[in-house]
Subunit: 221 residues, 2 copies
DNA sequence: GCCTGTGAACTCGTTCACAGCC
DNA sequence: GGCTGTGAACGAGTTCACAGGC
């Protein structure tokens, strides 16, 4: 096995590239299931509707994983992608907001292989604290966030509270040393430098769809 | 009130612009709540961490909504954005997949004002059919999709099935004349031209966070 | 004075096309 | 022959900077 490129400044890698690495990982998993041992960027592009040059370029940021004239070894590339994406160790997730979405996400570890584990779901509604979720976790008091993060070595915070509460929860997560936050509340949150925030805004997605329903859908999709 | 620009080819508008229009709408709602009547692009940019030139450019695709020397009228711009995004009429949503995520999304109409309404949630698991969801809807048989879409004038399909079932459900949605599909299953789906597909892949988002946890978080956020 | 709307400059990302290697 | 890795060309998207209007 070739080693990963020693130095790639993380800021040289575009977010779009990172998102695609995750896609490539899923492609490798699929190919492995199908028993495919080797794949060229072209074949991969055709099969999964990607662009072959882009695949090669994305991968080349991190090392020389391919063999000229042959392509990429599926299992090997999968391992590299796991390594690159930091998935070789478990990442522990703490959810704040035990509404429908929050409890739904408790289940989520099931779909993501071994890499992610929800280790806590908190809420500040006394009516919800103590309830058990479909995932088997008990809802705990949101005021214990700091303690729980420390205890269970949480790394990723997920916000599924109403919009009004989200910034407050976000601040508490930063305080509790969570450095990666996934926000489902439909607000633009502020985090200090050194904290990574991703917002998944369902309302934005629905409104986009509505825009194209209103104005027609372009040919390219 | 000035009228909307008569002809903007929908393909001239970037998807990124469309997504931002949705953000701007949320900004207007916030400003209206705060009682602000007029806002300049610069003030808006500062308040919501956007870029003023980009705001002006995005809006200018659709008309001349601002007043030089003054700025934009908040309520008026809000109305324009609603119009542009096709939100002045209700968009009816059909969900397929009554697992935790699907049932969680039934509630979603509540958070999106008047514009979106979940009018059906279907599943093919006989054990789930007939169950009632937190939103008050009964789970119906997925095989009745076509009929239900027609009856209730569904326009947007939401896929919350496991990955294995997703392409099949997607095909059935296309068959049932849904032209806008929001997919939460972690697979790359194929749709014919004339159908709009958006995928929200939680796994990709989590893996991105993991990447930056592993390699460090760049200063810009 | 201040602010919009917009061409021009620039930055970033994608795609092309080929040298180098198997 | 085929395929990777990569500089160069291209295109998309963002930001600048200012003319024009209030």
């Amino acid at each position: 096995m070739v080693s990963l490129k020693r130095r790639f400044g993380v800021s040289d890698i575009s977010e779009l590239t990172v998102a695609r690495l995750s896609i490539y990982l899923r492609c490798m998993e699929e190919l492995e299931r199908l028993g495919v041992e080797t794949v060229s960027s072209q074949e991969m592009a055709k099969r999964f509707h990607l662009n072959s040059a882009q695949i090669r370029k994305d991968l080349a940021y991190f090392g020389e994983f391919g063999v000229r004239g042959v392509g990429y070894n599926v299992t090997e590339l999968k391992q590299y992608l796991i390594e690159i994406l930091g998935l070789s160790r478990e990442r522990r997730i703490i959810i704040v907001g035990a509404g429908n979405l929050g409890t739904a996400l408790c289940h989520y570890s099931r779909f993501t292989g071994e890499s992610f584990l929800v280790v806590g779901i908190l809420d500040d509604d006394p009516g919800r604290i103590g309830e058990s979720t479909p995932g088997g976790l008990l809802v705990e008091d949101a005021s214990r966030l700091g303690e729980i993060v420390r205890q269970r070595e949480g790394e990723i915070g997920v916000i599924t509270t109403p919009a009004e509460r989200a910034q407050q929860v976000c601040d508490q997560m930063v305080q509790a040393h969570l450095r990666a936050i996934l926000n489902f509340a439909p607000v633009q949150l502020n985090v200090p430098k050194g904290v990574l925030l991703r917002t998944v805004d369902l309302r934005v997605h629905l409104e986009e769809l509505s825009f194209y329903l209103a104005h027609g859908i372009p040919d390219d999709g």
